[in-house]
Symmetry: C2
Subunit: 106 residues, 2 copies
């Protein structure tokens, strides 16, 4: 994986796709957070929100590692989880898109 070459254009496209996925996932977290916050009845609900955010922060910190050496599996995971579509990968070379799609479908 880490032997792939990324052109300047591809790096820009990859960064854009990466940020799109992160923004979408954060929007989903925000929506869930607003839903949970609206229905707080007592202290246990507050700490449940804290637990939820702790888990999401750990997972997203781990998942959104931007290094070219791991970008194919990172994008594959994001595609599998629904945060990226093939259209978001526009600007990458076909071989990379194929690798991402193939890995996402596993």
């Amino acid at each position: 994986m880490n032997q792939l070459k990324w052109s300047k254009t591809e790096k820009l496209a990859a960064r854009r796709a990466f940020e799109t996925a992160y923004r979408r996932e954060c929007e989903a977290i925000t929506a869930k957070l607003r839903e949970m916050t609206a229905s707080i009845q007592g202290s246990a609900d507050i700490w449940r929100i804290h637990d939820y955010l702790t888990e999401k922060r750990e997972k997203t910190d781990y998942k959104y590692g931007y290094r070219y050496s791991i970008l194919i599996p990172v994008f594959a995971r994001l595609m599998k989880e629904g945060w990226l579509t093939e259209a978001d990968l526009d600007g990458l070379q076909d071989d990379k898109i194929d690798k991402i799609k193939s890995s996402a479908s596993l």
Copy 2:
């Protein structure tokens, strides 16, 4: 402090006061949380909410220790911070109320 005697009636009153303070503080946290959640613009705002809850959870876990040996300073702190009023201490003996008020005013 830990030589004070707590009658059954006082224990009930103390528990009620303690729970009142905790409920009020949690209501304040909820209000702040809803305000922060409503104004989320991006990911940094989400993690700021997480930081806020982490701090509040640590502080409230520490502050709301229900042991009779430390209840006078606990109540004094809660009164000083505005989570308890003298009226909430109704049911405690005067000597305890005096100790709490005196400590809260320091």
